[in-house]
C-alpha cells in the first residue's frame, strides 16, 4: 500500500533535503530576520573598521606593506561572520530544536536518520552563512576594501570556514546540557574574535601568547581570508587550509558518533 517513494532514499541527499526544506518553510515568514543576520558583522565593520580605523590610520603589515586599518580588519570580521553563522546555527539552534522545541522527535518517527537531519542542518547553516558572507563581501567591495577581482574568492574561502565549524557545532549541540553551556561557548568564541589576530597582527602579541593564537581555529580562518582579500598569497595558507580541513573532519566524525545516541532515547 505504501511503499512510498523509496527511490528517494537511494540518493543519500534526498532525506537531508527534506530537513532543509522544513527549515526553509519554518523561517520563510521570518525571512527579514534571516536576511538581516549579516547586519551584526556590518556593524562591527563600521565600528571597528571605519570608526576605530580612522583613529589608527594605516597599519604596516609584518611583510612591510602599508594598508589602511579598515582593509586590515574587514577580512577578519568576515571570517568571524562565517564562523558565527554556521556555528550558531549548528550548535545552539540545533540544540534548541532538539531539546526545547522537540522538532526532531517528530522527524525521527519517519524514515529520516539522525545523520540526514544533521546534514540538512549543515546545508541550512551553510546557506545562511553564505548569504551573510556574500552581503559582507559586497559591502567590502562597495567601500573599496577589495584588492582585486580575485578577492571575491574570499566568499568560497569564508564558506569553507563555515563548513569547518559546522561539525564542531553539531558536536557541541550534543554536548550542551542547558543555556549556561551556550554562554560558555559564546565566551570562547568571542575571546577568539578579540585575540585571534583580528585587530592587531599576531606578531605584535607578547611572545607567550603567540602559540595560543596559532592554536585557535579562527586565527587560521582569518589568515586565509585576509591573505585572499589583500592579495597576499603565501605558503602558510596551505597550513591554514589543512588546519581547517582537520577541524572539519574531526568535528564531523565526533558529531556523527554522538548524534544517534543523543537523538534516539
Amino acid at each position: 500500500m505504501s511503499v512510498i517513494a523509496y527511490g528517494l532514499f537511494r540518493t543519500r541527499l534526498g532525506p537531508s533535503r527534506a530537513m532543509l526544506s522544513r527549515n526553509w518553510v519554518a523561517m520563510r515568514r521570518a525571512w527579514v530576520l534571516v536576511a538581516s543576520g549579516g547586519v551584526e558583522s556590518l556593524l562591527f565593520l563600521f565600528a571597528f573598521g571605519f570608526g576605530v580605523g580612522a583613529l589608527v590610520g594605516d597599519i604596516t603589515l609584518p611583510g612591510g606593506r602599508t594598508i589602511s586599518y579598515t582593509a586590515y580588519v574587514a577580512p577578519a570580521i568576515l571570517a568571524n561572520a562565517a564562523m558565527m553563522g554556521t556555528l550558531l546555527e549548528t550548535s545552539i539552534n540545533v540544540f534548541a530544536k532538539f531539546k526545547w522545541m522537540k522538532v526532531y522527535d517528530g522527524v525521527l518517527a519517519t524514515p529520516m536518520r539522525p545523520w540526514d537531519i544533521a546534514l540538512g542542518e549543515v546545508w541550512w547553516a551553510l546557506i545562511r552563512g553564505g548569504v551573510y558572507v556574500a552581503m559582507f563581501v559586497i559591502a567590502m567591495g562597495a567601500f573599496g576594501l577589495l584588492e582585486s577581482v580575485w578577492s571575491v574568492l574570499a566568499v568560497p574561502a569564508a564558506v569553507f570556514i563555515g563548513l569547518a565549524f559546522s561539525g564542531i557545532g553539531l558536536t557541541l549541540a550534543t554536548v550542551f546540557r542547558n543555556w549556561p553551556d551556550f554562554d560558555w561557548m559564546m565566551a570562547i568564541v568571542f575571546a577568539m574574535f578579540l585575540f585571534g589576530g583580528t585587530f592587531t597582527p599576531v606578531e605584535s602579541y607578547p611572545g607567550f601568547a603567540q602559540p595560543l593564537v596559532y592554536a585557535m581555529p579562527l586565527y587560521h580562518g582569518i589568515e586565509l581570508v585576509r591573505g585572499i582579500s589583500l592579495g597576499e598569497l603565501g605558503p602558510m595558507m596551505a597550513v591554514n587550509v589543512l588546519y581547517l580541513c582537520a577541524l572539519a573532519l574531526a568535528g564531523t566524525w565526533i558529531a556523527q558518533r554522538r548524534l544517534a545516541k543523543a537523538l534516539y532515547k
Binding site: 517513494a5 527534506a18 522527535d105 522527524v107 524514515p111
Partner: protein, 318 residues
Amino acid sequence: MPVDENEILVRAHGLRKRYGDFEAVRGVDFEIRRGEAFGFLGANGAGKSTTMRMIGCVSEPSDGALDLFGLDPHTDGPAIRARLGVVPQDNTLDNMLTVFENLTVYAGYFGIKRRTAARRAAELLEFVQLTARSRDKVDDLSGGMQRRLAIARSLINEPDLALLDEPTTGLDPQARHLLWERLFQLKQRGVSIVLTTHYMDEAEQLCDRLVIMDEGRIIASGSPRELIDTHVTKEVVELRYGGLHTTDLADIARTLDGIGSQVEALPDRILVYTDDGDDTTAALEARDVSPTSVLARRATLEDVFLRLTGRALGEDDG
C-alpha cells in the same frame, strides 16, 4: 478481510529497555498480526510508551529481539518507519509551522511528492475537522486540536501499522467517537493498529487483543472478553456509602466474608465479585449492611485492570 490475517507484522521476544540502572521494560513478548488492533494497558510508568518507542524504531532495545515487517530495526530503521504512522504521547508537532505545513513538511520526510502531500494533507485536515484552522500556528490550537493534528499527521504516509500512544487523551467525546470510527475503517483496510490507552471502554471497543503491563512486564494478555473471563467474575455488585470514610469501608468489607467470590474495598465503594448478581444482592440485604446504593452490573475491563494492577493484587495473591 482483504489480506492474510495471520501474517505477523511485529514480533517481540524478551524485549528490554534500560535507562541507566533503571529498567523500564523488563522482557516482554508479543506478536501483532496484520489487520488487528492491539492494545497496551498499564498504570502510569508501566513502560507502555517505552515499548511503543522501540516498536517505532526510535529507541534501541537494550536486549531482546524485535522484528517488524520481517525487517530488523537496527539496520532497516528507515524502511520500517516509512511504513509506520506514529502518534507519540507528547504530539511532537513542529511549533514553528502552520497546521497545514506540519502535514506537508512531515510528508517531505517520507519523500512524498509535494502535490500528493498537499492533497492528502487537505483530506486529513478535513477528517480531523481542522480545515478552518489550516493556516494557524500550532501554538494557537487547543490541546485537543493539537492531538487531532498529530493523528492526521500519522496517517500522511498511509501507514501499514499505526502506533498510537494514548490517541484520544484530551479529545472531546465527539472527536473520540469520530476517531474510533476512522480507526475501525483503517482496520478494515488491513492497517494494523497498536495503541495504548487509559480508557478501558476504548480498549474494549477497539482492541482485538491487548496486554496489561505492570512495572515493565506483561501480566496478562488476551481479547477483552478473555481477560474478563479469566481474571474476574461475570458480574460485580457495587456498594456505595455516602459520606463514610475509607477506613469504615474496609471494616464493612470484612463483615461481608463469604458473599460472592471476592470482596474488595475501594476508597469510595465496595466491590463484590460474583457470578450471579441477583443472588448476591439478596445475600447482601440479608446481612443488613445498609449501603446508600447497590448496583449489580457486568464485569468490565476496568475491573480486570484494577484487580491486576491495583493494590488488591499484592494483598490477594501474595
